[in-house]
């Protein structure tokens, strides 16, 4: 909530309370840093707010109001649970407030959040002569209380959203080579997941192989979506929302899925939700293992990405580091290509590495001790290529298994060391390895060993969920849908989209 919101706030205040806050009171309060104010908006306009002050581990809820047109929608519950969660983050354990004795709706709301009446101030509200009921919570940071707040917040978010529970979501993914669609119910129950490079799909649709071309996505997308709906046994009219990847990726590929999704949203009037492709990869881990939930750190490694992401809570992402040059999967592919081993390079190199000595060649571990979370793989690629050239110039046969194992180890050492550092710094208890390179067995093993030594839960999805798919976009999209995130119909693809922006 900011100064710009104050005209609306004062109007809501006057319509809500016999003794409303004035503009000056709001302005003074908003400028203080021992206050927390949060706002709810609809269509960019303020429709509710809540504020508290706190000292040490105790907080006082000072105000909570919702515009009359937006009451009975769970907005007050959402504001209260969010405010309490923010206070707990600041070290608050107990909260108090005063409420009019005859304001039953407000008292029920506060009781649902764990407030109990502990006393009264007789005749406190002079305008009506009512008593103020003094309410206090128990320890908000205790496990039971924080779980209750979370449930409360989820129920409120569900109530706020314009879609029913068990929502049916169609998800579309076309950020790179794969054209994919999936239908999911309630954020976890997968009814269908079609990826256009699947063998049975090829034979049914005349061998369409979507490559890098947007034209190929265009040719495939209608059939892929039809197939996903048919397999799920649903039609467009059964859907509650559409989720689509809008970045990062190849712009020409992204626009195809996005254009289709926007067209469908326009034609059907269904809500449209935009998903970040990397966020999708993190949700693949949640689909595979229901214990995975924030706070967590995820390393998304694939042919196009090497990103270390901190997810402190649902819907909040912070990119801690990325590659400065080549992605991890790309380094595997290029080394394999240089050795004439074929494509994709990851599985080939990891197979060869099993028979090799990982300590045979001491390749550089770039950025390992840089103190930040940036990765660099271009130098390693050049070192490997130089090594091969030296061996050939000296007339020696390159020991390919040793080379593969040593190269792979150099990649793994840096990934593991940065991931462990990130987990320690953020203090999270869960780590997700995501993306196509998560299929690398040696990387999985090294990461699991290092994380478990630190008492951290490690999640690695099955291979089908590591590579690009739309099931993960459906799961991430359902979460965004429930939080009220919507993509405008004039939204554009964002090839360089970063998580947290």
């Amino acid at each position: 909530m900011t100064i710009d919101d104050l005209d609306t706030a004062v109007a809501i205040e006057r319509a809500s309370f016999p003794r409303p806050w004035t503009r000056a009171m709001f302005a003074e309060d908003l400028s203080r840093d021992d206050r927390v104010w949060i706002a709810a908006e609809t269509g960019g306009r303020l429709c509710g707010y809540a504020g508290a002050t706190w000292h040490a581990d105790e907080a006082h809820i000072m105000n909570l109001a919702v515009e009359s047109a937006h009451r009975q929608q769970g907005l007050a519950t959402a504001l209260l649970s969010e405010l309490l969660e923010l206070l707990v983050c600041r070290g608050v354990h107990r909260a108090t407030l005063e409420v009019r004795e005859h304001n039953d709706a407000a008292r029920r709301l506060y009781e649902s959040a764990g407030f109990r009446a502990v006393g009264a101030r007789p005749g406190y509200y002079t305008e009506t002569g009512e008593d103020a009921v003094i309410m206090w919570t128990d320890d908000l940071a205790a496990p039971g209380a924080s779980a209750r707040l979370e449930v409360l917040g989820e129920h409120a978010a569900q109530a706020l959203s314009d879609v029913p529970a068990n929502e049916l979501v169609l998800a579309i993914e076309s950020s790179c080579d794969e054209t994919a669609a999936a239908v999911m119910r309630g954020g976890t129950e997968l009814l269908s997941s079609v990826v256009a490079s699947q063998v049975d799909f090829h034979s049914r649709f005349g061998g369409v192989v979507p490559e890098i071309a947007s034209r190929k996505h265009t040719e495939a997308i209608v059939a892929v979506i039809d197939e996903a709906l048919t397999e799920a046994g649903v039609g467009f009219s059964d859907l509650d929302a559409i989720a689509v990847t809008y970045g990062p990726g190849l712009v020409g590929a992204l626009v195809v899925g996005l254009a289709y999704a926007k067209g469908l949203a326009l034609a059907t009037g269904l809500p449209l939700v935009g998903v970040n492709h990397l966020e999708g990869h993190i949700f693949a881990n949640m689909l595979a293992d229901e214990r995975v939930a924030p706070p967590l750190v995820a390393l998304v490694v694939s042919g196009g990405h090497t990103s270390l992401v901190h997810m402190p809570e649902w819907g909040v992402y912070r990119t801690m580091g990325e590659t400065l040059d080549d992605a991890a999967g790309e380094a595997f592919d290029k080394v394999a290509k240089f050795l004439g081993l074929g494509y994709p390079g990851g599985p080939i190199i990891s197979k060869l590495a099993e028979a090799g000595n990982a300590a045979a060649i001491d390749f550089p571990r770039a950025m390992m001790h840089s103190g930040d979370y940036s990765f660099s793989l271009s130098g390693l690629k050049t070192s490997v290529i130089n090594h091969i050239r030296h061996e050939r110039d000296a007339g020696r046969e390159v020991d390919v298994p040793d080379l593969a194992a040593s190269f792979q180890q150099a990649v793994i050492d840096v990934q593991v060391s940065k991931a462990v550092k990130a987990v320690k710094e953020t203090g999270v208890g869960t780590f997700c390895l995501a993306g196509g390179v998560a299929a690398n067995r040696a990387l999985r093993q090294a990461m699991t060993l290092a994380m478990e030594a630190n008492g951290v839960l490690v999640s690695v999805p099955p291979f089908a969920l590591c590579t690009d798919n739309a099931a993960m976009i459906a799961a991430a999209g359902t979460h965004r849908l429930r939080r009220g995130d919507r993509l405008d119909l004039d939204a554009e693809a964002v090839p360089n989209l970063r998580l947290g922006e």
Partner: protein, 162 residues
């Protein structure tokens, strides 16, 4: 024309020297083995153009657009399998757009060379030694190549053969 460099940082400097000579729709076609330094040269050009974000490999995305004093279109044809795909990625539209194009593996298809361009072929002579063969095509390409080499001959750490 040839330039011999002895360190990656020199290749980078060479890129920076080119940046100040570039105008919209200039095209640079880069070739050379993996690890030759194509991206190192583009990083130098990007720095000279005032690009702030990191120049990450375009291999996977095929095209990365970096805003700077002039937009830098960093392309990579490595993953393309046939020349028809040039149309699919709007290759020619990008070359003519209002920025500077640097195309890695730009020698991959003969159709990929527009009339006006500067071709840079990088050979690996040793771990850090590189030879860059530079050829301008068309009036603008020849002019740009010549200006670039004159600028390079004033820099230290490299040998320029005009």
């Amino acid at each position: 024309m040839k330039v011999r460099t002895y360190a990656e940082s020199t290749t980078h400097e060479l890129g920076r020297a080119l940046a100040s000579l570039l105008v919209p729709a200039d095209v640079l076609l880069l070739s050379g083995d993996l690890g030759a330094g194509k991206t190192a040269l583009v990083k130098g050009i990007a720095q000279g153009l005032g690009v702030r974000e990191p120049i990450t490999s375009p291999t996977f995305n095929i095209l990365r657009v970096h805003p700077g004093k002039l937009s830098l279109y960093h392309m990579d044809l490595y993953r393309l399998e046939n020349p028809n795909q040039l149309e699919d990625i709007d290759y020619f539209g990008t070359l003519e757009a209002d920025g500077v194009s640097c195309v890695e593996w730009g020698d991959r298809f003969s159709q990929a060379a527009p009339e006006e361009h500067v071709a840079v072929a990088i050979s690996i002579l040793g771990d850090n030694d590189r030879e860059l063969l530079i050829e301008g095509a068309g009036a603008r390409g020849q002019e740009l190549a010549a200006q670039w080499m004159r600028a390079a001959s004033l820099l230290s750490g490299m040998e320029v053969h005009l």
